[in-house]
């Protein structure tokens, strides 16, 4: 049982001066060039990077671009590189950084919209189209909706949910060495979705079908299993296990 609010989980004490070094660049503005700009913010109890960035934008630099939607670690909008690691900015407390210096860069491997904002939406839509991230089944649209739903093994439903928790934030893509070298590499978020549909008894695709999707060097055979994805996935999804499983399944087909 707790007896106090513990949002001040740091011990730095409020009122500390934080230094934000932020990459500024707006490709929409002719002649603009990438540069690092430093902003100072006074730390408040429970401050997150979401709160700090809004404060900078509202009080100091009105043109600063970034993306937040849910501000609760749920929607995957706010991936950025925070002191060298891709993570969700909205749920990162400033108190986590003892030095008080925080460097923010946009996620690499995505089209830059401006400053910290990148086009993950376009990337994820293309990924979904490429792997067909929907249930492939003739039943999906022809089922009589007045009758009992098709039964499903409760354990299987839970297991699918575990993989369905991906929020398409893109952190795994930014942390992937292979992706940096091979533009067409599907990447961990794609593998996670493939694993999810592969596991789903409602999806009728066979391993042969999946081989067409991921059975080459742009797919699961290109992965070097360095596990940047697993280390940086904010939803702690089991990348290592799933990639290994997909690879084994694809080797069998080959």
């Amino acid at each position: 049982m707790s007896d106090k609010i513990q949002i001040q989980a740091n011990g730095n004490g409020p009122g500390r001066k934080l230094k934000f070094n932020i990459l500024r660049y707006n490709p929409q503005l002719a002649g603009d060039k990438p540069r690092m700009v430093t902003y100072e913010v006074e730390e408040a109890a429970g401050m997150t990077i979401f709160i700090a960035l809004n404060e900078i934008r509202e009080k100091q630099e009105p043109s600063l671009q970034f993306d937040f939607v849910c501000r609760a670690g749920i929607c995957g909008s706010c991936g950025m590189v925070i002191n060298g690691r891709p993570d969700l900015a909205c749920r990162t407390l400033t108190a986590k950084f003892p030095s008080g210096e925080i460097t923010l860069l946009p996620l690499p491997a995505f089209e830059l919209i401006g400053d910290l904002s990148v086009n993950t939406g376009k990337f994820m839509r293309a990924m979904s189209e490429r792997i067909g991230s929907w249930i492939h089944s003739s039943d999906a649209d022809n089922r009589d909706l007045t009758i009992l739903e098709e039964r499903m093994d409760p354990d299987l439903a839970d297991e699918i949910y575990e993989l369905d928790r991906c929020v398409e934030c893109g952190c795994c893509i930014s942390a992937c060495g292979t992706k940096r070298m091979r533009d067409e590499f599907l990447g961990a978020v794609g593998f996670m979705h493939v694993a999810r549909f592969h596991m789903d008894s409602r999806d009728h695709r066979s391993d042969d079908d999946w081989y067409e999707v991921i059975g080459d060097d742009d797919g699961v055979f290109g992965c070097m299993t360095l596990l940047g994805c697993e280390d940086n996935c904010p939803k702690d999804l089991p990348h290592q296990t799933q990639i290994a499983f997909l690879r084994r399944s694809m080797v069998k087909v080959a």
Partner: protein, 656 residues
């Protein structure tokens, strides 16, 4: 001048908008979805607890059906809802959830045999039936007679939205992201589409369509502390309001959720209490049974929020630098349950509070959560003021929630109304041919461009963020959980003054392309207009109903107030909205007004209530051999698209 033509234009890529888009696309209509953000990031993704549908498969849902769901929904609304719409809804909810099951939502399923659950803070064992194995299970939620809320752990909205958007991708429906609708194109009594600002390039684009559907979600962000996403700013409702023709319904009906964490206002789902969590005060005392001995923590949301506030006013809150709060205690549920079924809650507690809900109590207090009000529609989803303008989801006032929506009924509404209204949208597209003069389109584009140019030309003036903060504070302090005439009048006066100051907003950053300050300069005056509809509606409504609670008028007054508020902004230069009212006809109700069952019954009844009660009794008595479907039909007729009319099967009872 850039113009995009389509059949069905859907503004909003949340659950509701996507479902309408899917329906119209499946019917062969060219369909485009517009969204501020990638569709999968819409606020629907944040729904944790679940979706109500009367499948009745779990043992604690046994005996559930459309009638029970209907009764809960009408009662929950404090008789403020539209009963035909509530009927359309309860009959379609099982179909919507089964459809989503085929589209990939991994609904949690029933394991037959014994399982331990927590009811009223005690562990009890329930036994699920063998015959229900593998069917969709449900949990308990506030204000419901049965366990009816279907879920996937506490990521229900996420899995639903992913399945829905994936279906839209399969159907090749384009989602134009990072586009903001800033006004509707209309003339006479017809809507022709919308003016859109590209949030990246700054370009203005006209989208011309046969049917335009507003599915833009709620307006929670007119309040300082809200569980809503930061983009829930009510722009859909605002642009409808600004047409002067499309009314907004019941804007004063704003829900506060009992358990958002302090201070940031992030939600912990009602599933916490549904699964057995309890509320405690500064002394660690469980106080809800004293106030609501029957439903306790699982009374309707508006009731629990008020009781918590009352209890804190008695000095029983826990003081903190951010004001008083209470505790939500889910420790009794145990580690295994929390890590499996409440893991988003666990993550939120860890990241934002630095606590572990397995062992620690969670600091919570009631926080703005849901907008019952929105773009008023007829049962088919169309605006009564503009043809070709439809609305669905939280952004609409289709009106199945009246003055209080039940937990789990909102994501259910999005999927259900999307299915139903989507068919009517497609019908409309099939039956309509529009021809629209380019001068009309140009006129609307020019108006918006001029507005932007004026903002850029001003060199000094009001800071838009200060105006926004002032509005949010007024709403929080004076138009909150408990309301009274004096404070509401102050709120109206102050908001009016703020709106005036909006004429002088300065935009410091002059970039014509992406420009967050300009975005706010365009939104904030519109948000203040919405805030005024809420405050004026609340001031005028001299009664207490559902979430609208007037301390100076504590009774529900059916005699004078069984009606829906319609707000219009008739002229651009008006300083206040115009309020009109739409009566709810008791003589057409299947369930005439009664006592909701919380606190004392102080309702001032309408003379029709007794007449209709007698009539209902007489009709029912005159059909001794009829089944529940036949009696229902005799009491209230409602329409549904042909393909959604069928009865729903349930395990053990078939179609009975």
């Amino acid at each position: 001048m850039k113009v995009v033509y389509t059949d069905s234009l859907v503004i909003g890529g949340g659950l509701a908008g996507l479902r309408v888009a899917i329906a119209s696309k499946k019917r062969g209509m060219e369909t485009i979805v517009l969204s501020l953000i990638p569709a999968k990031r819409s606020h629907s993704a944040a729904a944790q607890g679940g979706m109500q549908a009367s499948l009745g498969a779990s043992i604690k849902g046994e005996g559930d059906n459309e009638d029970v769901h209907f009764g809960d929904t009408v009662k929950g609304s404090d008789w403020g809802c539209d009963q035909d719409v509530a009927r359309m809804f309860v009959n379609t909810a099982p179909k919507a959830i089964r459809e989503l099951a085929t589209w990939g939502v991994p609904w949690s399923r029933i394991r037959p045999g014994d399982r331990e659950v927590v009811v009223n803070a005690e562990k009890v064992t329930i036994t699920e039936k063998e015959e229900a194995e593998g069917l969709i299970t449900a949990r308990d939620f506030g204000g419901t007679k049965k366990w009816r809320t279907c879920f996937t752990a506490d990521g229900t909205g996420h899995t639903m939205l992913y399945a829905m958007d994936n279906k839209a991708i399969e159907l090749d429906i384009p989602v134009h992201e990072r586009k903001e609708v800033i006004s509707l194109i209309h003339e006479g009594d017809q809507c022709y589409g919308a003016v859109v600002r590209d949030l990246v390039t700054g370009e203005l684009i006209a989208y011309v369509a046969k049917a335009t559907t507003i599915a833009t979600g709620g307006y929670g962000r007119i309040y300082a502390v809200s569980t809503n996403a930061v983009i829930c700013e009510g722009m859909g409702a605002a642009i409808a309001l600004e047409t002067g023709k499309a009314p907004l319904g019941n804007m004063e009906a704003v829900q506060f959720h009992p358990t958002a964490i302090v201070p940031v206002g992030i939600l912990t789902t009602e599933g916490c209490r549904g699964d057995g969590g309890v509320l405690r005060d500064i002394d660690g005392y469980r106080f809800m049974p004293d106030y609501e001995p029957d439903k306790k923590e699982l009374a309707s949301r508006d009731v629990v929020s008020r009781r918590m506030t009352e209890h804190m006013r008695k000095g029983k809150g826990v003081p903190s630098p951010y004001g008083d709060h209470l505790w939500l205690d889910i420790t009794i549920l145990g580690k295994a349950h929390i890590e499996k079924n409440l893991r988003e809650v666990k993550e939120i507690c860890e990241y934002f509070l630095g606590i572990d809900p397995v062992t620690d109590w969670i600091p919570v207090r009631p926080t703005q959560h849901y907008s019952m009000g929105g773009v008023r529609t007829k049962p088919n989803g169309e605006s009564p003021g503009l043809k070709g303008l439809f609305s669905v989801g939280e952004g609409a006032c289709w009106d199945m929630h009246g003055f209080n929506r039940l937990g789990g009924n909102s994501v259910a509404e999005t999927a259900v109304s999307g299915m139903i209204v989507g068919e009517y949208v497609a019908d409309h597209c099939e039956q309509t041919d529009i021809s629209i003069p380019t001068s009309l389109v140009k006129g609307f584009l020019n108006r918006e461009q001029k507005n932007i140019d004026t903002l850029f030309a001003r060199e000094s003036g009001e800071n838009v963020y200060e105006l926004r903060d002032a509005m949010q504070t007024i709403m929080m302090d004076k138009v909150g959980i408990f309301r009274d005439g004096a404070h509401l009048q102050e709120a109206v006066d102050e908001l009016k003054a703020l709106l005036k100051r909006c004429d002088n907003i300065v935009v410091r950053d002059k970039a014509p392309s992406s420009n967050p300050e300009l975005v706010n300069a365009l939104r904030v005056p519109r948000m203040i207009k919405l805030a005024l509809t809420v405050a004026c509606g609340a001031l005028a409504r001299t009664e207490s109903r559902g979430a609208h609670s007037r301390e100076d008028y504590p009774e529900r007054n059916d005699r004078d107030w069984l009606k829906r508020t319609l707000s219009y902004w008739k002229n651009e230069n008006d300083e206040l909205p115009t309020l009109e009212y739409e009566d709810l006809d008791i003589m057409k109700m299947e369930m005439p007004p009664g006592f909701r069952g919380y606190g004392n019954d102080n309702t001032i009844h309408h003379p029709d209530t007794e007449r209709r009660l007698a009539e209902v009794e007489q009709i029912t008595a005159s059909m001794p051999n009829a089944d529940r479907h036949e009696i229902q039909e005799a009491l209230l007729k409602y329409d549904l698209p042909e393909k959604l009319k069928g009865k729903n099967e349930r395990v053990g009872v078939g179609y009975k």
